[in-house]
């Protein structure tokens, strides 16, 4: 029999017996950040390609979600900090090896930008309301004219926003469940997919609906492929990775992972969107809500299960 114990009474709160530093606030931010990144990407892409008039839901209505999502996400992150009064230290330096530093700076730029973007559509979104001050009206017009420049700024930033959380987690070689290089692209794809689902939910025209059904379906397929890739990689990995995989497949999180993320969050929406393309009418709320739920659950499971996995020694 093998015994491996602490004998000096070590019981660090939130670390023993399992790491529990990051919880729902982090998972929530990961989801909201990915969602915002997806919507931003599509909005910026279509605007840069001068197709923004064809996709009002993307550039106008879905974009309203972004500043809200980013604000809630940032508040969640701030809430999670334990040394809150010093949060400004994030902005005294740029650390190139730390994905969290990239994220902090990107968020610093992209959050106001998203507010400005929405503001630039103010009179289109709320035609009944009048802006109180004349300089605001001038500002809105100015922003509307420079929207394409904003789009060019937002495009790379949204990709970074979508991918950096995955890179951040994958850089933790101490947590075997996260420590694979697929996680970055996987998070990006998942973010784009949830963004597309949100857009789908809010789209009014048939053109947008069918376009984004196709886009979302494509993204789901890519996401499934990446997940398969990740699992195969872990099966072929070292002992710690096999142990980590045991949690997801045949462990405490199996039902959650396969039930919520794979089946409900990916396969069923994919099926529904496929039959939608073939002409069957499916209320758009179902696949998009499922995709959003799946995205959230995926983040929650990764955060919780990843902290349980550890190095064996």
């Amino acid at each position: 029999m093998q015994e491996e114990i602490f004998i000096s009474g070590r019981e660090l709160p939130k670390i023993d017996p399992y790491l529990e530093i990051w919880h729902f606030p982090i998972a929530l931010y990961l989801f909201l950040g990915g969602l915002a990144a997806g919507i931003l990407f599509f909005a910026a892409l279509f605007t840069a390609l001068d197709k923004d008039k064809q996709v009002p839901a993307v550039v106008k209505y879905a974009m309203i979600i972004v500043p809200v999502a980013l604000s809630i996400g940032l508040m969640a992150l701030f809430y999670d900090l334990t040394h809150k009064l010093y949060f400004w230290q994030l902005y005294t330096t740029i650390r190139l090896e730390s994905p969290m530093s990239w994220g902090a700076w990107v968020l610093l730029i992209i959050t106001p930008l998203s507010f400005l973007w929405v503001f630039s559509y103010f009179s289109e979104i709320f035609p009944k309301w009048k802006l109180p001050f004349p300089f605001l009206e001038k500002f809105e017009t100015y922003l509307a004219k420079n929207r394409k420049n904003m789009a060019f700024m937002i495009l790379p930033l949204s990709i970074i926003l979508g991918i950096y959380t995955g890179i951040l987690l994958s850089a933790f070689n101490a947590r075997p469940l996260w420590n694979n290089s697929i996680l970055g692209p996987l998070f990006l794809t998942s973010g784009l997919s949830t963004g597309a689902a949100a857009i789908l939910l809010l789209s009014k025209t048939h053109f947008e609906k069918s376009l984004f059904t196709k886009i979302d379906l494509g993204l789901i397929i890519i996401e499934l492929a990446l997940i398969v890739h990740m699992i195969m990689g872990m099966y072929a990995g070292s002992a710690v990775q096999l142990e980590a995989l045991d949690i997801m497949i045949g462990g405490e999180y199996t039902v959650l992972f396969f039930g919520f993320v794979i089946i409900l969050g990916l396969l069923i929406p994919a099926f529904l969107e496929t039959i939608e393309i073939f002409g069957y009418k499916v209320p758009v709320i179902i696949p998009s809500m499922l995709v959003l739920l799946g995205g959230l659950m995926f983040r929650v499971i990764m955060v919780e299960a990843g902290q349980i996995t550890r190095y064996l020694y």
Binding site: M1, I7, S8
Partner: protein, 746 residues
Amino acid sequence: MNNSRRTFIKISALSASGLMLYNYGIKANATSLTANNKLADSAKALNRFPTYCEVCFWKCAAWAYVDENNNIPKIIGNDTDPHCYGRLCPRGTGGVGMYSDEDRLKTPLIRTQVNGEDTFREASWEEAIDLIAGKMKSIKEQYGPESFALLKHGAPGGHLEHLFQAYGSDTIGEPAYAQCRGPRETGFKLTFGAWVGSPEPTDIRDTKCLVLIGSHIGENMHNTQVQEMSECIDKGAAIIAVDPRFSTAASKAQHWLPIKPATDMALLLAWMHVLIYEDLYDKEYVELYGQGFDKLKEHVRGFTPEWAYGITTIKPEEIRKTARVMAEAAPSVIVHPGRHVTWYGDDSQRGRAIALLNALLGSWGRRGGFYFKESLKIPNFPHPPYPEPKWGWHEIGENFPFAEMGITNEIIKASIPGGNDKYPVKAWMVAGTNLLQSIPQASVIEKAIESIEFLVVLDTMPMEITGYADVVLPECTYLERYDDLRSATNREPSVALRMPVAPPKYDSKPAWWVAKQIGEKLGLKEYFNYTDYKETIAWQLEQIGSSLEEMEKIGVKNFPRKTGSMYLKEGEAYEFGTPSGKIEFYSDQLAEKGFDPMPVYTPHPEPENGYYRLNYGRSPMHTFSRTINNPNLSDLADENYLWVNPKVAKIEGLKNKQEVWLQNQDGITSTYPIKVRVTERIRWDSVYMYHGFGHNNKKLTRAHGKGMSDTQLITKVTVDPLMGGTGMRGNFVKIIQENPHKEILS
């Protein structure tokens, strides 16, 4: 009999409004809970004072650091001290917790009745001292001062012993004798004419073979022994560990003999047989210094390794091999006398067997074996001679011809009417020992406590024994007082100073002050001819060629030896302290009194089906039950675990960390549960736990209800007929998984 007089007071004491007047130093108690790591800055503001540790009996000299708010953040060892070489053990390092523990006794407490229930009320020192002195006077008038007994341990005991002897009582005992090392002292005294003593004069750092039978060095933190064992590991010494449990020492041993419990005597006799009949013993040594060897040779003829195999389950080849390893290393070999050797009732004889084995190997008085220890004699501060009591500990223990100190259990027995009417004990003072954790058979102790007329307890913490007292006196810790100079035996004599590092907290007082106050009230002023104990220390230091100023600077002063070499020279004549002046392989003394002149093997009772032998031992992070509430040390280990073999766990259906209760062969059930640790390190016929847990007093906030008390389950005791030691390893327990207590325990 008024039953309620002696009920254990479970509820907390009444808090008088006067408490608010006392500065509990809560502000000053801002210890490690602050978020600032300012030690580097505050290092400038720290003063250091010399002391010697009192957490255990090893008395390592130390430097204690104190800041301007009287916080003691750190204690480190004194580099020049032969007890610790500058390194304290975890208990010594954690001594800061003893000082900062808010659960400490703060004021004198006097038993009173409120609404028909017993409780304590806070009192002034004057009232408490008056009460005690009054009782001592009345006991003296009614029965004689001999009837007031003192049960003690450590430095406070020393001061109270002086008071009691001045008062006219020699009815003094300490658990350290009959519950711990008494038997080995008797065994070695009968053989070599000298006690082993404390610290043991084991020359571990130069030994080539260390045999541990009944010793778990590494789990007991006898500082110098642990340090020297580490040194001898570096030098490649062989370690032979005989233990039914895979102890830490066994894990470092080249030879671990997983002996069946209670059969050690057979192994020792077989080893003697191999050494003698394979001609491996030290012939010149035995020839020159021994007497009665031929009788021993004849005696062990039948104790072959094959015979021992059947009893101990250790293979004959293993017995022979280890005997040869010992002989190869001889005379630089130590068969360690052990500590806490009160196991099965034949413990003095087993101690003698170990002594004989050492004698055959020629290790006594040889380098790498046992050195001749020496201490500096410090003259006592002058006082009138003590009165002669009519009887004392010696008479109480008269049934045990070889007892050389007070036998605590005999004193307890004499406190019960009908227990010993020749020498009736009517009152106790208990100082520095938690009787209910240190002495087995709690029912006997409780009966004795109920019978006596008065019980005074002097302690630093609200230990269980305080719950039975009539008067509780709060003692300050070793960091807050002067005490006697330490002059212990060692390779070279040394003297260490203990001085206050900080003033006593709350309303606690040093034991010397308590003794003096009581003494003066008893009219014994001439025995306490000083105002502050400092004066006696200063006087004593002058007598030995030092001074208080010097000792305050250096803490420890080493002196050259005066009694000659530490080791026997080749062929040197030597007079041992035995009647014959020689090492007695055959003991006439024992034969005359009707005991076995040479050790024999006696089989001891074994557990029946479903029961496991209850084994217990030390944790390196704690000292007995004393430190369980210490914040720093309870952070390391706040409860003990029950070690259970995986096979047993499977049969009983136990899981790791599961809570179980134990019930022993006499039907006594443990109050608290204990968590199971399933481990290969213990045999399938035994269970094991660290001693000292399962505290019952709610005022010990960190220790209350944590873990289980092994002492509670030790109700069967086999008494050593030679010196009265209480053999405690003959208790068997069965494991109960359902909570056997119906109501919630307080």
